[in-house]
Symmetry: C2
Subunit: 347 residues, 2 copies
DNA sequence: TCCCTGCCTGACAACGATGTCCGCACTCTA
DNA sequence: TAGAGTGCGGACATCGTTGTCAGGCAGGGA
C-alpha cells in the first residue's frame, strides 16, 4: 500500500544513492558525502570502506540533487546557429577551453538559424539553471531573456548584438572589414563592384553592407541597387544573384561576398564560367582550402577563436561579479591577400 | 541564528519558486504545478491568476528539482572528438533532429581527441542523469561506462566501436570503402599505391588500412612497409610521410588518404609540387570544395548524417526498451569519382 | 431537505544531496 | 587524573518540484 507511496511511477533504471552506500559501508550519510566530495574529517580506514562500497554499487552522485541544494551547476551553455558551419568550430573550441579552465562544463546547442529554436533552447538551459549563457543570436528580439538575466543567469552575446536588450556583447569589426575588402578591390582598379550578402536585418549582414557602401562612397563610386543583393544564403538564391550581376548589361568586374556560405557558392559559379573573363573576389570569413583554389581566394578573416575566448572570459567575469556594466567589444578583422582579389578588372 | 540555517552560503541570483507564485496568486502550491505543466483540473479563472503571477515574477520551473522528483531529464548527450571537424557537423545535426522529434534536448560535448576528457565528459553527463548517451569513442577502454549502462543510461557508440564493452554501435563500412578506393586506383593502372592514415589502434584507422591491404592482395600487389604510414594527423607528420613516399627511389604513383584531415594536407603537398609528375589521389571522407580543387578530389564518401540518424534512432529505441540485444550496424560508403583518382600512373 | 457524485484544490511526503550542529571518543596538558 | 581541546561521525532540516490523497464545494436526484 504505502510502500510505493510517492514513488515516481517509472523510475528509469534505478541507481544507488548515498544512503545505499552509507548502509553498505556501515557509516552515516554525511560521511559518504564527505568522501565523495573529498572533504576532510574522515579517517583513512573509513574513507576506504566507503570507497569500496561506492565501487561495488557503481554509485555516482546525482548532480540534480546537488544543484538543488547548492544553487550552482558549474555549467554554461553556448547557443550557436549551426554546429556544421565551420565558422563556429574554433569559436566553440575556444569557449570550451576557457570553461574548462574554470572547471565548468560546456553545453553546445544549435538554433538552426531559427529564432524560435534559439528561444526554446535558451529557456531550456535556463530551466536547467546553467550559470551562464553565450548566445549567437538567431532571433531578433531577446527580451525573453531579461527575466533570466535579472534572476542571475550571466549572459553574453557573440558575433551579433541582442535586440532590445542591454548586455555584454563581443563582435567582429564587420563594417571595417567589409570596407577594407572593397577598398582593396578599388585599389586594384575595380569600379563596378557587387555585393552579395546574407539576409538583411541580421547585424553582421547589415554592417558588412554598410562597410561596402562606405568604401564605395569614399572612392566616389555609385552604389547601384542592381549591384547589391541580400537574402538567404541558399545556393540557388546566391547563384541567381551572382549570375544577374555577371551577365547584366553593365556587368561587375569584382565581387564582395558577405560570408563563407555565400563565398563558396560564388566560387563555384565562377569556376563553372572558367572560359569567361575572370572576376575578382573578396570573401568575408576565411575558410579551409581557400588557399588551394585557383585563383586562391582573398578574404577578410575574422578571428572566431578570439570571439569565443573573449566572450567566455567576459562571461566568467560577469558570473563572478554580476554588477559589471554591460560592455561591447569589437575584434579587428584582417585582410588575407591570396590572389582572387588582385585580379585586374576585365570587361 | 536559525534564520539562515541550512541556506546555501551564496545563492546565485535568486529566483522565484512555485511557492512564491502560489502565495502571490493566492492558491496552493500544487495548483501552480498543475498550471505550469498544463495538467487538467484547474478552472480558467484560477489558471489565469496563476499565469499572471508567473509572468509578474518571471518564474521558470527549476528542472533540477523536477528531475529529482521524476527521474528523467529528457536530455541526451553526444560526445564527439572535435566540434570543429566538418565531419561531425552533419552528424550532430542529424542527431539533433531525431532528439527534437522525441522532445528531448541534445547536449553536445567535445573530447578533443583525448580519452581522459571523453571519460570526464561522459561521467559528468551521467552525473547530470542524461537519459541517453551517444559517444564517438576517443578512448580505448570504455569499461568505465558499464556501471552507468547497467544503471539505465542508454548508450550507443558511433563511428567506432567501444573497446571491452558490449553495446549498440553504428559504423561506416571502413574496410569496404578503403578497399573500393584502392581497387579504383588499381583499375586505372596504378601498381605503386601508398596509404597515409590516422593513428593505429583507432578502429576506423585500422579498418581502412585493412581495406587497403585487402585490395592490394586481391590484385596480387605487394604491401610494402615503406608505402604505409600511419600516425598523427598533424600536418607536419602527414607532410613528411607524403614526401617520403613521393621522393623515394621507387616512388608511388597514387595515394589513399585515411581521413579528411590527412587528405587536406596531402592535397596541399601535391599542389606545392605542381610542376612535378601528377599523383593520383583518393581520399577517405568527403569534404567541402573537394569538387572545386584542380584536379577535383575523388573520395570515398561516408554518410555522417546517416550515422547520426541511425545511432540516435537506436538510442531512443533502447531508451524505450532497455532489454534489447546490442546490435552493430554498418552503413555503406560511396565512391565519388571526381578526377584525382583517375589520373594515369606517371613515373 | 439530504446525500451523493464529481470536480477543484491544497496539505504532505518524497526525490538525493549538503550545511549545520551536536555528541562521542580520543589525545594532550596541567 | 581531570579538564580542555580536537577529530570524527551522524541526525536533521532543507533545496524546488511532483504524486498521493483527502477535504470542500456545487449541483442534481431522491
Amino acid at each position: 500500500m504505502t510502500l510505493t507511496a510517492g514513488r515516481p511511477p517509472a523510475r528509469y533504471g534505478s541507481r544507488p544513492t548515498m544512503k545505499d552506500v552509507a548502509s553498505r559501508a556501515g557509516v552515516g550519510l554525511k560521511t559518504v558525502s564527505r568522501v565523495v566530495n573529498g572533504e576532510p574529517g574522515v579517517t583513512a580506514g573509513t574513507r576506504r570502506r566507503v570507497q569500496e562500497a561506492i565501487d561495488a554499487l557503481g554509485f555516482r552522485r546525482n548532480d540534480s540533487a546537488r544543484v538543488l541544494r547548492k544553487g550552482r551547476t558549474a555549467t554554461v551553455g553556448l547557443i550557436l546557429e549551426d554546429l556544421a558551419d565551420p565558422f563556429y568550430g574554433p569559436l566553440s573550441r575556444a569557449v570550451e577551453e576557457v570553461a574548462r579552465a574554470h572547471d565548468t562544463l560546456l553545453i553546445n546547442g544549435s538554433s538552426a538559424h531559427d529564432a524560435n529554436r534559439e528561444r526554446e533552447l535558451a529557456l531550456a538551459l535556463c530551466a536547467r539553471r546553467v550559470d551562464g549563457l553565450l548566445v549567437v543570436p538567431a532571433g531578433t528580439d531577446h527580451r525573453y531573456l531579461e527575466p533570466e538575466m535579472r534572476a542571475g543567469i550571466a549572459t553574453v552575446f557573440v558575433d551579433r548584438p541582442a535586440r532590445a536588450v542591454e548586455a555584454d556583447t563581443v563582435l567582429s569589426d564587420n563594417h571595417g572589414g567589409a570596407r577594407a575588402g572593397v577598398a582593396h578591390l578599388i585599389a586594384h582598379g575595380h569600379r563596378r563592384i557587387g555585393y552579395i550578402g546574407d539576409v538583411p536585418g541580421i547585424h553582421t549582414s547589415d554592417e558588412r553592407l554598410r562597410g561596402y557602401r562606405t568604401a564605395m562612397e569614399e572612392a566616389g563610386l555609385p552604389v547601384r541597387p542592381d549591384r547589391v543583393s541580400v537574402g538567404s544564403t541558399a545556393p540557388q538564391r546566391v547563384r541567381r544573384a551572382a549570375e544577374e550581376m555577371l551577365d547584366g548589361p553593365d556587368p561587375v568586374t569584382a565581387l564582395l561576398t558577405g560570408n563563407n556560405r555565400v563565398t563558396v557558392t560564388v566560387v563555384r559559379v565562377l569556376a563553372e564560367r572558367q572560359p569567361h573573363r575572370p572576376v575578382a573576389l573578396v570573401g568575408f570569413d576565411d575558410f579551409e582550402l581557400a588557399d588551394l583554389l585557383r585563383p586562391a581566394v582573398t578574404v577578410v578573416a575574422q578571428d572566431p577563436a578570439g570571439l569565443g575566448r573573449v566572450a567566455a572570459q567576459r562571461l566568467f567575469a560577469r558570473m563572478a561579479q554580476a554588477e559589471l556594466e554591460p560592455s561591447v567589444v569589437e575584434l579587428p578583422t584582417r585582410l588575407v591577400v591570396r590572389g582572387s582579389g588582385e585580379l585586374p578588372p576585365v570587361d
